[in-house]
Symmetry: C2
Subunit: 273 residues, 2 copies
DNA sequence: CGCAACATTGAGGGCCCTCAAGAGGTGTGG
DNA sequence: CCACACCTCTTGAGGGCCCTCAATGTTGCG
């Protein structure tokens, strides 16, 4: 069924409707964050791959052996089960937090227990590189979507290591600078782009070129559509309507959690306004 | 005239209507940025107060003499006339840019020559602490509102100095971390707060306690109201209507560019939603 | 005084949210 | 195996928020 539906009648998804990803096993009403457990399951020591975060996030040159050693000596690795909290904005940040593997939602736990996702992070990536330097609470709540492996570096100890290894300080600076730029772009788009443009931009950014159809691309949604909507600061209903609107225009073709981009150029134009 | 107007009739400002600040002398259609001039008017050398930026922005402990020396050796001071561009987002950032004194608008110069202000910075403060680390173009355009003094540190040279003075690297890190936190808060408010809440928050943040009237406070607008609106991502018309709405509720009292906050607690409540 | 820029106010409308209903899928217990 | 609960996604109806456009009043300046 290549043609997008055109009428207002009930739309029936094709039989190959993709099953919802694993997040279905993580209901939103997952157990609330229990801070007392945060410190458990800690273990210390050099772990292979400890430098992947720093290399992946702060540029191409690999860390020197001495730098790896300095980091490994103070790294604390934590495994977080699906649905569990990683950190809470009600607790003072004393460590830099990285995500080695897994998916974590950054957002805000509301009074009624639900979680408002603002951003979803897939490892390896930083989760909170900034709060610890200010002796403030974490800026957001973080909740694991699937099983996740988290690495933390105590700020006090890291600060001493940075003094001896300027290359590491440089990585921290570059990582923070990247974050500033990303947030600035985000702010700009929220201020000046409407919902269709933000969605088009979001889709355009995660286009993966599709072999076999020149110019076309595919976007796989690794999260619930309501979480996509949440990241774009729109409601799930609006997201659904926009997807249908783009489909009617022949720009994309939606099939469950797969979005096929038929006309990337038009999608780019939609992202402009 | 203490009571706010209540009817829909034409409102007449009291005679003591404050004259618009100096920005009136800087028309929005000021001369476009001429990049060739950016490098002019540079001079080098140690300048008294060079460390004020670093001290003001990155914490209480004053810089050591050695640190001041390291910074002064590479600092480039520039004086920018009112209405002139400070940097442009079409040029690669090679320096960290600080504002020692004056006011600078950060935003985007649009195709039609107008300037969309997203943030207004009053020195001493950083103007762009992040772009140079990524070898990217500046994230925004910057335009001086009044006469401004700008200090720049070339990234290459600074990076070498940071390696020898870990305390300076720490300052850069803290400065960037502050910026990340501020931007995160900003993003959150844009996503989840409506226009009245954002305005209330904005006013609440810049309350200056008012002697003589316990609990009350005053907010002086140092910029055109249209620039205030721009920072809040609303139109000047909406800002005007909201000001009147708050006045009708008895929360504030507007007199030209002076806003008197009659009920800070209520203003805080308005900022919550 | 005429002109330019800013602020204010009103009328109208578009965008997007809220609320509600229904379809389809999955896991669970009888 | 089926009923049931529960979740997600979709679609429609209605409405509120805020933008756009236009007109008016005020202030400062040549």
């Amino acid at each position: 069924m290549a043609a997008p539906p055109t009428g207002p009648m009930v739309i029936r998804m094709e039989p190959s409707f993709a099953a919802p990803p694993a997040f279905a096993a993580v209901p939103e009403r997952a157990a609330a964050l229990r801070p007392a457990q945060l410190g458990q399951a800690l273990r210390r020591g050099a772990v292979p791959g400890d430098d992947s975060l720093w290399s992946a996030l702060a540029g191409t040159p690999a860390l020197s052996d001495a730098e790896v050693e300095a980091l490994a000596g103070i790294a604390q690795v934590r495994h977080v089960a699906a649905g569990q909290g990683v950190f809470s904005r009600s607790h003072t940040a004393s460590t830099l937090v990285g995500l080695r593997s897994g998916e974590v939602a950054l957002g805000f736990r509301t009074a009624d227990g639900t979680f408002r996702t603002e951003r979803i992070v897939r490892g390896p990536a930083w989760l909170d590189l900034s709060s610890a330097w200010l002796d403030e609470a974490h800026a957001m709540d973080a909740q694991a979507l699937g099983s996740a492996t988290v690495v933390e570096w105590p700020r006090e100890a890291l600060q001493q290591r940075l003094a001896k290894h300027p290359g590491l300080a440089q990585r921290v600076i570059v990582g923070l600078a990247r974050e500033v730029q990303a947030l600035a772009v985000n702010t700009h788009e929220l201020m000046h782009k409407d919902a269709p443009a933000r969605l088009a931009q979001w889709l355009h950014q995660r286009c993966e070129p599709l072999a076999g159809a020149a110019g076309q691309a595919i976007v796989k949604l690794h999260e619930r559509k309501r979480d996509v909507a949440s990241q774009l600061a729109i409601t799930p209903e609006t997201l659904s309507r926009l997807m249908r609107s783009f489909s009617r225009q022949g720009v994309i073709e939606v099939s469950g959690y797969n979005v096929r981009v038929l006309d990337p150029v038009a999608l780019g134009r939609l992202a402009q306004a």
